[in-house]
Amino acid sequence: MNKGKFILMLHAHLPFINHPDFPQFMEERWLFEGITETYIPLLKAFERLERDGINFKLAMSITPPLMEMFANKDLQRKYEEYMNKLIELANKEIERTKNEDQRKHKMAKYYKEDYEDILKHFKSVEGDLTKAFTHFQDKGNLQIISCNATHGFLPLMMHNPQNVNAQIEVGVNAYERHVGKKPDGIWLAECGYEPGLDKYLKKQGLSFFFVDSHGLWFGDPAPAYGVYRPVMTEEGVFVFARDPESSQQVWSADVGYPGDSRYREFYRDIGFDREEHYIAPYIDGSGERCNTGIKYHKITSKKTDLNSKELFDIDEAYEAVKEHASDFINKKKEQVSKLLEEFDGIEPVITAPFDAELFGHWWYEGPLFIEQLFREIDKAEELNPHTPREVIDTLNSVQIVTPAASTWGANGYNEVWLNGSNEWIYRHLDNAVETMIDLAKKYYHANELQERVLNQMARELLLAQSSDWAFIMTTGTTVEYAVNKTKTHLNRFRELKKELENNNIDVDKLKTLEWIDSIFDNIDFRVYAKDV
């Protein structure tokens, strides 16, 4: 029987944020929340599937900044401190909710056990979560792919080949360093593709990447099977395109599953609800309120205002998870049978890429949904889960298509990363890139100290290039941090350049920068001197 092939692809990414000279730093919580709500819950879901002998297959990009943060000793230590505080808070909540609604008390106990288990998991892999995910890669369930170095937005770098190559090469090297072998495929930051990028991917030995649906719809020529079969570029790199139906089912703000009334409400958190003297030790040191992760309310309905939300019950939410996973798979089955008919029996490949942090961080029950989804697929005869590599290995022939310029940003192109709010960054980034290329050639035979300065300059440049900063400027939350991050990395770059050229290198300062902007320990600035 001909079946459909299903590829779930989770893109796990956070920008590199490291403030080791501060006991705590608000933006470091992004990583900590990601670990507690998404990364470890996903690992736990994989473990349960493994234990129950369920055949699950998926792909995940774990970006270089995320792998670097997972391996960072300062951040690991701070995460443990953060979790110990959180467990302390959950214990207080258990006491406190004894006299409140019992649904709250139940959840307080649930959180405490959950946090303790998460911390146990974290310690069991000595904090290095890449290692934990690699276990599932070794078992054949998970294909971990790479991403360009600091998640720089490549469609706006195309006028500078060395820059594009450096983003990709440094990303590939980081993967190899953390995973122990070369990556097979790549997720391009923001799913951003421009014709011509495939040449750089090929050069780094990458055999596949992903595009949004319109990358193939408007490809040259329009592919025979639309987004439902991989294609190959002229350079010989395979391309998987996003299935719009899968995205819409999960992702859509109006009809997507995460909006169900029974699911946990993201915006009600005791970090905002509890009185100040009680919550102060568990929020940011400045006293600024923030999410703690302990939340007692459910969505109820989208129209319900935040103060009138009803209480959340994990068991009720779990019922919704089961319904949604089953609905998702039923729709996939229908889709497969329709496509099989249209394609005269050729097996459709359905590719469903998502931001990993949607599952758990935003949609609390998301990791449970993924687990349940694989349990449902396991029962379905019409559908098999695959990794991208497995799909490629089954291909006898493939259509050659040049994908169209596309991204998964709002509106589908580059506007999220280039508009009135963030246009100013590009002239500065471009200038730094050109400086880096010039210096890399000029100082190719640098002495040891010059080499350290140039490597640090490369780090500062790459950190300034994270697409996250431009993205945040567009969305309008925590803009100041993003603006200052961009300015600060560029400023550090300029100061290092001055010291290098004036032969007046401040070693203490350099050491501090190597400590705080410590991404890519083994970077070689000469990557910018390459002819590409």
Binding site: H11, H19, P20, G180, N419, V483, N491, L513
Partner: protein, 257 residues
């Protein structure tokens, strides 16, 4: 600690192949001609370097707020990002075009001191040329848009007529004809329509051969383009407040930030 890892590995009397791949995994660069003892030497040096670095880091680890504060003050820089002023101009001749979407492109420019002197008495023009299927010689653009610019460095947004078309920008002035100062890179606006060819090319992966067949599209139906309505659903000048307000409310693929 990585230095311990390296030393432990060296104790395990590895083969030259093992040494090579281990060194590579640390990101060390080896020459093809290197002998076993050369690689061991490099690894030992790396271990020593790591030990030094680790010691530095751990000595500097903060143990309490007050110690930390003192350390921060002693240190010349801290990790907290600040609103540094970036240079207004890099004093280099520069013009770059970016595609934004099928209907808009963005141009930025900057001038060298020399150019700044040269242009004092002229009114500067920024032109955007449609050079689709054209080898541009300065005069043969399919279409040209022109605007007066009065700031440098500066930037501009152009609304363009065609998706999937090639554009380049130039800056110059009129003095007995148009005198060019700067010319930009060429970009292609993203396509927002399908390309139906008469033929398809397929690669036979087993025989490593290509074959060309008549096109046999299976997905021309409306349903194949489900969701395409979200593309370019926001219209207008990407630099406007109004545009940004709508854009920031639309979901992108991302959920964390």
């Amino acid at each position: 600690m990585e230095n311990e890892k390296i030393l432990k590995f060296l104790e395990s009397s590895p083969t030259i192949q093992e040494l090579r791949s281990f060194a590579k995994s640390l990101g060390l660069r080896l020459r093809r001609t290197m002998k076993k003892r050369d690689i061991v030497k490099i690894l030992k040096k790396q271990a020593k370097e790591k030990e030094r670095k680790d010691n530095e880091t751990y000595q500097e680890l903060p143990f309490s707020g007050s110690v930390l504060k003192k350390q921060r003050e002693e240190r010349k820089i801290q990790s907290k990002p600040e609103a540094y002023d970036l240079p207004e101009s890099y004093s280099k001749d520069k013009i770059v075009v970016f595609p934004i979407n099928p209907h808009w492109v963005h141009v930025y420019w900057d001038f060298s001191e020399n150019t700044k002197k040269k242009i004092e008495k002229y009114e500067l023009k920024l032109r955007l040329h449609d050079v689709t299927n054209v080898i541009f010689d300065g005069d043969n653009a399919n279409r040209t848009k022109e605007t007066t610019i009065n700031s440098y460095p500066g930037n501009w947004y152009f609304e363009v007529n065609f998706a999937g078309a090639n554009y380049l920008a130039e800056i110059g002035y009129y003095a007995e004809g148009f005198k060019r100062l700067l010319i930009s890179n060429v970009i292609t606006t993203p396509r927002n329509f399908p390309v139906y060819g008469k033929h398809e090319t397929w690669a036979d992966l087993k025989r490593r051969k290509r074959r060309v067949t008549p096109a046999h599209l299976k997905t021309t139906s409306e349903s194949a383009f489900i969701g395409s309505s979200r593309l370019s659903s926001i219209q207008g000048n990407p630099s406007s407040e109004e545009y940004l307000k709508i854009l920031s409310k639309h979901l992108s693929g991302r959920f964390f930030l």
